[in-house]
Symmetry: C2
Subunit: 386 residues, 2 copies
């Protein structure tokens, strides 16, 4: 096991009705609250009104229209609001995009230069406004970690950043808030959880046993509950298990003690930087071809472990048959969530494969992935996704 | 899934050599450090000297001789040291006893009345000195939670307490510090981890699926690595996996979302209150008889789940056969760790069964356990342990 620092200090208030605690939570920080949210679905489902009503004693500044794959320009807009209104705390109501954007806004408020500096170099983040979140989509895990992914639309660069100070102080996770999620978002969020787990599971560290068993626990949870949430969007058990699995998948428990770069996220970030693709959909498309690409004599045993422990395949199958069956099961699972499983279906052609591959290798450090990948590898994976 | 608050905010610095960070960690709080430790094993294995050398710029006040199952009188001694020396931070170097004791010392320093009040009524804990720990034994999980168990030797009452403020701020977990643990302590610590998991696993909440799969992950880790650590005490992988499993078993991940009282710990607390038995040994002795006592038509499916997922028993066995085989496997596992598996072997006779049963039911809330238990139930379980 590699050395690590684990510090997922977010207070999680989980369950139906936890929103009632919001005034007490926010009052620790002050009266000026930046209310960050997305396209307005929280106005349709009533969450916006609940919050406004609960916060009648606060000075609430609206920071609306945060887009999926949030843009640098939106971060700058949020920072300007914080400075203009002397904001004490950011209340991020949404999924990963809203929370990620809020993290960089929180840091940019204390930074004199261009906010993009903080995305390119996370060590420039020294201080951040406190962040409180109300989760409305399960998947990214952003409610319990320091990570934030921002897109610079001028340069078409999508990058991750984050510092220990950008971890949310409190996250309110009410599974009933996920009832109105469209099936496509439920599927994409579930694929995102699945992929976060796989990014940690397929690492070079050989003896992170407890992490790998915990990883399998979360995969089993997604496999059980994502299909239920697709068909019964108001199934509390399904929404609750997916929501908590989402936080646990990326709060450091699975990744701590396992160094090395991620494999699939860096490639997907290029897809959504260039095509504004839903992140989880891109991950689902890329995962089976990536698995097939890296399956070899060195990795086959790990795939067998995955097949037996997660997909309950018989351990006495020939090794490569077992590994391939596990990969096929992964693909079939994503298909069962009605995710389009080719780039063609989501309107992406081969014209930018080379430039995306180059940037994925460069920005994502794919040379340090579980199986190191160069541009040629990434192009081959993208070709297999056509 | 039941509503919950999760807030395991401890910063974990995990791995070989992390002790070097101690001066930076402590300097956040001040110069006056209460160094809490036990019987002196840290003087033999060099940890004490390392710490003294690292803390040459601090004012270190020794708080030695904290006994296993720490006493109220020891808490009072620690509190008096904190007050006399204007202590800024408590550095607890040891296992659960040292850390538990330090938690109540930390709270008692800000409390005007008798320290026992804080044990009897945790809501009286309003403020606590910051606590930093250096772990030297894996098992209790005290390094990452708020719980503390203290014994009042005058009344022979052993009780748990704790508040959000008594969670350690930082815990340094260096698996090489566990190399010198005697085999008996390795076994007892492993049984303690195992029991913590079972206390959460066997709860009435039906749909805490992700928690139960995570619980199994930790059981599998103990089953794999405890026997290795017994035979090869300097196996880094074994010590690292057991240490991290120990923290994860009781930092709230497994128990959050699953309300209800614990079953075995309340009974064991009586054994060690009256006989000063090593906690993990008592848990191992009690667990199989408790399981057999509560196995019935309502619980058999949970035992089958346990048997299939943890002990890899065939799922097509008749249900009660499968459940009993899982219980037998549990017993055999503890035996394989050379744990004496009867009360007779640890010098405990039946003379106090009734009084211990009465107190276990009363103080431990056994009426709210997975299968509710009364005094008669507890006596029957104790009889089966003879």
């Amino acid at each position: 096991m590699d050395n690590f620092k684990f510090h997922a200090y977010t207070e999680i208030l989980f369950g139906k009705g936890q929103i009632q605690q919001l005034p007490a939570v926010l009052s620790k920080y002050g009266k000026n609250v930046l209310l960050a949210y997305g396209s307005g679905s929280i106005k349709k489902n009533g969450i916006y009104d609940s919050i406004q009503s609960l916060l009648s004693d606060f000075n609430v500044i609206d920071f609306a229209d945060i887009e999926p794959n949030p843009h640098l320009a939106t971060v700058e807009r949020g920072r300007d609001l914080c400075l203009a209104h002397n904001v004490d705390v950011i209340l991020a109501v949404g999924g990963g995009s809203v929370i990620d954007c809020s993290k960089v806004v929180a840091a940019a408020t204390f930074y004199d230069g261009n906010a993009w500096d903080l995305v390119e170099n996370s060590s420039k983040i020294t201080k951040a406004l406190p962040i409180v979140t109300v989760l409305t989509m399960a998947g990214t895990g952003s409610e319990m970690n320091k990570g934030a992914v921002i897109t610079n639309t001028e340069t078409q660069v999508k990058r991750g950043t984050g510092a220990w100070t950008t971890i949310p102080q409190t996250s309110i996770v009410d599974p009933t808030y996920l009832y109105t999620l469209p099936a496509k978002q439920t599927a994409a969020g579930s694929a995102d959880i699945f992929s976060h787990v796989l990014e940690s599971y397929f690492k070079r560290t050989p003896d992170a046993y407890v992490q790998d068993r915990m990883a399998e626990a979360i995969l089993l949870t997604v496999i059980k509950y994502a299909p239920i949430a697709m068909v019964y969007p108001e199934d509390y058990s399904a929404r609750a298990n997916l929501a908590w699995a989402s936080s646990l998948a990326l709060n450091g428990i699975l990744g701590s003690g396992k160094n090395g770069a991620w494999s699939v996220h860096p490639i997907e970030h290029e897809l959504s930087a260039y095509y504004d693709l839903t992140h989880g959909i891109g991950l689902a498309i890329l995962t089976p071809p990536w698995m097939r690409h890296i399956l070899n004599e060195d990795t086959v045993d790990k795939f067998c472990e995955y097949g037996v422990n997660v997909w309950k395949l018989p351990s006495d199958m020939p090794r490569f048959d077992l590994a391939n069956a596990a990969i096929d099961a992964t693909e079939t699972f994503f298909e069962s969530l009605k995710i389009p499983m080719t780039l063609h279906e989501v309107g992406i052609d081969a014209s930018k494969f080379e430039v995306m591959a180059k940037k994925a290798v460069e920005l994502g450090g794919l040379a340090y992935a579980y199986v190191p990948m160069n541009e040629k590898d990434v192009v081959e994976i993208l070709e297999a996704c056509k």
